[in-house]
């Protein structure tokens, strides 16, 4: 889903990241990655959730993080944002170390989050949800207008309480909020969860649009959707990356993926 100027080569040789590519055929682009996660170990209390996650995301890519429930995909996104700070390992964004920063400092560097279950501010209006995401250095009204230009449906409901929106509209709002402020990287967690198939199509379209202006790391259980949107994928199992490759090289019911994704 990269645009015409994609840096992702077809087929491709592995470039680094050997430890995370047991099945080979990864098409990691050359050059400095936008985001690099190296040997990250994260915990919830005493529970060891991430056991050395390695992955790279390059500018302009959509990279899918796939795997069963509870294997550490959401925790990987939370560790990048420093919401669940890693105890070991490194997370760099544009070459700058994120471990040790506060979450708001990570966000201020251009990392947006579209979380699982959307987490919109239900008692605030649609416009206020977007306003809350506009950086202090930017003009609030200009940021608001840009978001509404991108998602015209939201403009019509700008004064409504965000909690009164449909699930699809709430997801649009969450994506709009994640893009506000010109974020370079969008961490998107389960965008199709709980949505009707028709709405999922609209959300996929919105994410494809978003991919034109931001790099996306996508966590998604809906495998056809994930592979359709993504340029590359990483499979996560038991807190570590067990496979990676080019999204075009696999299909959703291939044996290669099913062995990691079936319950």
């Amino acid at each position: 889903m990269t645009d015409g100027g994609s840096t992702v080569p077809d087929g491709g040789s592995e470039s680094g990241n050997e430890s995370a590519t047991p099945s080979g055929e990864s098409a990691v682009p050359d050059g400095e990655p936008l985001l690099s996660v190296d040997g990250v170990h994260s915990y919830y209390g005493d529970s060891h959730i991430l056991e050395g996650v390695d992955l790279e995301v390059h500018e302009g890519e959509v990279v899918a993080l796939i795997g069963r429930n509870g294997v550490g995909k959401t925790t990987t996104l939370r560790s990048i944002l420093q919401l669940t700070p890693p105890r070991e390992g490194s997370v760099t964004f544009r070459g700058e170390e994120l471990v040790g920063l506060d979450t708001h400092e990570v966000a201020q560097r251009g990392v947006g989050w579209v979380p699982e279950e959307r987490r919109i501010f239900a008692q605030l209006s649609v416009a206020e949800n977007v306003r809350a995401a506009v950086p202090e250095s930017e003009d609030v009204d200009a940021g608001l207008e840009r978001a509404f230009d991108r998602f015209p449906d939201l403009r019509e409901r700008r004064a409504a309480d965000a909690g009164d929106l449909s699930g699809g509209q709430q997801q649009m709002l969450a994506v709009a909020r994640g893009l506000v402020g010109g974020n370079d990287l969008l961490l998107v967690d389960e965008p199709s969860e709980g949505l009707a198939p028709m709405i999922v199509d609209a959300v996929a379209e919105a994410l494809a649009d978003a991919a034109r202006e931001a790099t996306i790391l996508l966590v998604e259980q809906n495998l056809p959707l994930a592979l359709d949107l993504a340029d590359r994928f990483y499979v996560v199992d038991h807190g570590t990356v067990v496979d990676t490759g080019d999204a075009d090289a696999v299909d959703a019911d291939s044996e290669r993926l099913r062995r990691y994704l079936s319950a």
Binding site: L83, D102, T103, H104, A107, W113, Q123, L124, A132
Partner: protein, 339 residues
């Protein structure tokens, strides 16, 4: 026998007719509004702090008490031997600004130094900590007051004496006799509500406060320094509590004294719980409900039961009824704050 049995009924009906007279109703309404104004000022900060941060600040009453003494001190110093009401009003507004600023600084410092390190601990830690701060502030106040020869447990008469004469008089407003102090308190309460409302709905920080009250983690992920917002809100909340204290220093029913800390903390908690934890709209509605109920029951206790020692019990009755009928309060949400 039957005549004797009808006497209480007649007395009740007679009192009821007296209560329903327009002038009586208006008088009770004004008293209820003035109590509501005091409650909303005492409670606004507590509600903001709990709504955003999930911290039950047991030191809130002690801050109000300090505000009463600090405001009282400023008015005593500024009024001096002057007798004119304009000077006294001016002194009051200066005292309010000083108390607001000083106690906002105290609150901000308290949040950074004491509360911030224990956000991730269970709520009991915050309750014990802020309760401990209350004890320290009360003891410090006692020490300072005794050093200057002021009785800590008695109302501070010097501060009460700086009240403008017009606030001690009955004023005729639209044919209703209204106490000047009550009118002043209502005006001050309206100003507080408008000020806090404007802060919450018209400023970027207010937006952060409302968003953070729903989901502070999400707010941080949008690039907002939530810890800074916490500090600002804690400072604002304690500042408003201090300003409320200045107003209480002029009210003979409250007045500056060390026990004022507990006297204000209890009704403040009642109003916060009745309104719904962490909602300012609920706080205003609950202050009106509790204030007007309090005023009505006071009138009935004075004119029918002829016993004035128990009207405060109605405040807590409102709390008990609310907890049984609608535990989440008037405008409560199922969950607030949270870290």
């Amino acid at each position: 026998m039957s005549t004797l049995a009808t006497l209480p009924t007649l007395l009740f009906l007679d009192t009821l007719f007296e209560f329903l007279r327009p002038s009586t109703l208006a008088g009770v309404a004004v008293e209820g509004l003035s109590l509501a104004a005091l409650y909303v000022m005492i409670t606004a900060g507590l509600s903001l702090i709990f709504g955003l941060m999930g911290v039950l600040n047991f030191a809130h009453g002690a801050v109000t008490m300090l505000g009463a003494y600090l405001g009282g001190l400023v008015t005593v110093l500024l009024v001096g031997g002057a007798t004119g009401d304009p000077v006294r009003f001016l002194a009051f507004f200066v005292a309010t600004l000083v108390a607001f600023g000083a106690l906002a600084a105290l609150g901000g410092g308290m949040e950074i130094a004491l509360v911030r390190p224990i956000y991730d601990r269970p709520p009991l830690y915050q309750i014990l900590l802020t309760f401990g701060v209350t004890l320290i502030l009360e003891e410090l106040a006692r020490i300072v007051l005794l050093f200057y020869g002021i009785q800590p447990i008695s109302d501070w008469q010097d501060a009460l004496a700086t009240r403008p004469a017009v606030l001690g008089e009955g004023l005729g407003v639209a044919g209703v006799a209204v106490d000047g102090l009550e009118l002043f308190q209502i005006l001050f309460g309206i100003l507080t509500v408008v000020g806090v409302w404007a802060f919450l709905t018209r400023t970027r920080y207010g937006l952060y406060v409302r968003a953070g009250s729903e989901d502070d983690e999400m707010l941080a992920a949008l690039g907002v320094d939530v810890r800074q917002v916490f500090t600002v809100v804690f400072a604002l909340g304690t500042g408003v509590a201090g300003a409320a204290g200045v107003l209480l220093a002029w009210d003979p029913s409250w007045a500056a004294s060390v026990p004022l800390a507990a006297e204000t903390l209890l009704p403040a908690f009642v109003v916060v719980i009745v309104g719904g934890l962490g909602t300012f709209r609920g706080t205003v509605a609950a202050a009106l409900l509790v204030g007007v109920t309090d005023a009505i029951m006071k009138w009935w206790f004075q004119n029918y039961v002829e016993f004035t020692g128990l009207p405060e019990i109605t405040v807590f009755l409102v709390l008990v009824i609310m907890l049984i009928v609608r535990p989440q309060g008037l405008y409560g949400v199922s969950e607030v704050g949270g870290h």
